[in-house]
């Protein structure tokens, strides 16, 4: 009796050890060049837009009222199946408007020009060059794509721990506190819907760039937003950054946001 119980416990212990050992063994096996799995090759679209680090320049001077922002957010929500939840706590936001003192807390001067104070400021994921959310994720469900610097989410790997939300200093991330599907007006079958319990955020329209289209908000902005490669000195964004005084959100934190604001 006693020995059989001991045996069972031993087996349990060993099997739990084996479970944790698999990734380690796999790594060793790969190093030796034995079970090298063929890497999946995704053939890029010929029209695909590429960059070393995608960046956005927002010309805030050209935004006068909420009506200037609405179409941008609307097109984003539509193509990305972003739900509209009534409960403010459960809100999902990819791109939205806020005040200057909310977008740039701690930097808003006193006695600010009334025009700037009234101006709508667009905020979205900054696709930081040094993203704290990526550092925080315990499963690499959120990652910085090496090819073009976009910070992406794998909705199917995310365990919903929300560490990335605590890590993001820009409040750019939303969590699906409930099944979002009933709250999507019209489902776009070209982009996945999400399930409850995972985090999501702006993806710089990676799916559009892959087929040669500019991000939807940029396209809808009529030139108010500009998108391009930060490391191409000839790019349009670099032109704008060179020619205008730009600021970035919470630059002091060293995350190197890729969204620039002309004020």
């Amino acid at each position: 009796m006693d020995s059989s119980r001991r045996r069972v416990l031993q087996l349990l212990g060993l099997s739990s050890l084996a479970l944790t050992a698999t990734p380690v063994l796999n790594a060793f096996a790969k190093e030796a060049g034995h079970t090298e799995e063929p890497e999946p090759i995704i053939k890029p679209d010929k029209k695909a837009l590429t960059a070393k680090q995608w960046a956005m320049v927002i010309d805030t001077r050209r935004f006068k009222s909420a009506a200037d922002v609405e179409p941008l957010a609307a097109v984003c929500d539509t193509i990305h199946n972003v739900p509209h939840l009534q409960n403010k706590r459960h809100e999902i936001k990819w791109i939205w408007e806020t005040h200057y003192h909310n977008a740039f807390p701690g930097e808003a001067g006193r006695f600010l020009s009334e025009e700037v104070e009234q101006r709508p400021f667009i905020v979205l994921c900054n696709h930081c060059e040094n993203p704290p959310c990526v550092r925080a994720c315990p499963t690499k469900a959120t990652f910085k794509r090496e090819s073009d610097g976009i910070v992406l989410m794998d909705f199917h790997r995310c365990i919903g721990c929300r560490f990335c939300m605590a890590a993001c200093p820009f409040g750019a991330r939303s969590f699906n506190y409930r099944d979002p599907r009933p709250f999507i007006k019209k489902i776009n079958s070209q982009y996945p819907t999400r399930m409850k319990g995972v985090v999501e955020k702006c993806n710089f329209c990676a799916e559009r760039l892959a087929v040669g289209q500019m991000p939807a908000c940029v396209e809808a902005s009529g030139g108010k937003l500009t998108f391009g490669d930060l490391y191409d000195p000839q790019s349009e964004v670099r032109e704008l950054i060179r020619a205008n005084y730009t600021i970035r959100r919470k630059q002091v934190l060293g995350t190197e946001p890729s969204v620039y604001y002309i004020v």
Partner: protein, 385 residues
């Protein structure tokens, strides 16, 4: 030895049934949460961690507090604690179990938990927290069980346990340090961004853990034939006294740095908690209560006259446990998230289902704790009678 945990009187079974009922209620609400999602809690886009993670943080402290009986006994050969080390180890087991459960109930997709191991990410502090917590759990199970069994058989415990025991001491410190690193390494969260967070966590841990242990000792003396001992309780009380003083001292250091430097990003969180911000002040009475409780706790445990009176000491321990729980279990997390990164105040109030699920986890932990203590006390009774 497990048989000792299932043989008990009416009171024992009554208590266990009571706990089981609470576990059951919590579990039913957890099923509801699984079905609906975390939306049944008070969590929001701004405050994405709340009651579960706060209780997790507090209980990591209680678990680490167990080391306060292990360390003096094994490192300083303080013989008196030999009677109670097993209680410290078993308290650690039950606490870590609660911690792990709190993490599980907090996950949006709990079925994917193994992704943490499959896609292991050493750059994430959460990954390391998983490692140190599970490691501490196994260390205490192995050490506690084998030492108790050896004691029962009246032999010296196995020699190979010794290194594990020594490892378990810094390991206890590591669990709370890594847990603090979850918070204090995040840019843009001024409330947590302080190098003193881990020391603060440890000091409140070494107050709350031993305080709970003293209460357990007093209860054990009352309900069993085993007396953990007056000297043991008094020594623990001194540990509590020092730890709670250091905890309040650390907090005051924090207050000085924050308010003398006058940096709004850091001040706003403490203001929110203690005087309210932008008209929101739900936590204000709680935080002042916490301060009051800890202060009374200091007076009662530092003063030898009150400390030596076990009745008063019991009250002091309850006050300190509650005070540190409010500080860490309520204020620490909500305060860090409010105001939000966009400097908005959206208050977080835990919902009823959320509180009931948390109560269920606590009841589960106390169920395990009672069973483990029953076993330990059973062995002690056999020996000391």
């Amino acid at each position: 030895m497990l048989e000792l945990a299932i043989k008990g009187g009416k009171k024992y079974y009554g208590w266990m049934t009571f706990l089981l009922v609470i576990v059951g209620v919590g579990f039913l609400f957890y099923l509801r949460q699984l079905d609906f999602g975390l939306g049944i809690t008070g969590l929001s886009r701004d405050t994405s961690w709340g009651f579960y993670i706060a209780n997790f943080t507090f209980l990591v402290g209680v678990a680490a507090g167990g080391v306060m009986v292990v360390l003096p006994y094994y490192l300083h050969d303080y013989k008196a604690f030999g009677r109670v080390t097993i209680l410290g180890e078993f308290l650690a087991i039950a606490s870590v179990l609660m911690c792990v459960t709190f993490i599980l109930v907090d996950l949006g997709q709990p079925t994917r938990i193994l992704n943490v191991f499959i896609y292991f990410s050493p750059r994430s502090v959460l990954f390391w927290d998983t490692i140190v917590l599970n490691g501490y759990l196994f260390l205490n199970i192995i050490i506690g069980w084998n030492v108790l069994e050896a004691e029962r058989n009246q032999v010296h415990y196995q020699a190979w346990l010794k290194p594990l025991i020594y490892i378990s001491i810094p390991w206890a410190v590591s669990i709370h340090t890594v847990t603090a690193f979850l918070y204090c390494g995040l840019p843009g969260r001024g409330f947590w961004m302080t190098a003193i967070l881990a020391p603060r966590f440890l000091s409140s841990a070494f107050a709350a853990g031993p305080a709970l242990l003293i209460l357990c000792c007093l209860i054990i003396r009352r309900v069993s034939n085993f007396d953990p001992g007056r000297e043991q309780i008094q020594s623990l009380a001194k540990i509590v006294a020092y730890a709670i003083c250091i905890n309040v001292f650390f907090f005051l250091c924090e207050v000085f740095v924050t308010f003398y430097s006058n940096i709004p990003e850091h001040m706003d969180h403490i203001k929110y908690l203690f005087i309210g911000l932008q008209g929101h002040a739900a936590y204000v009475p709680w935080m002042w209560t916490s301060m009051g409780l800890m202060l009374i706790g200091i007076i009662l445990t530092v003063n030898p006259i009150t400390r030596k009176n076990e009745g008063v000491l019991a009250v002091a321990c309850v006050l300190i446990f509650l005070g540190t729980w409010i500080d860490k279990g309520l204020g620490m997390i909500a305060g860090g998230f409010t105001p939000s990164p966009l400097h908005e105040v959206n208050e977080y109030i835990p919902s009823l289902p959320e509180i009931l699920i948390a109560l269920g986890v606590w009841a589960m932990g106390f169920l395990v704790l009672t069973a483990l203590f029953k076993m330990a006390v059973g062995v002690k009774e056999e020996l000391h009678d």
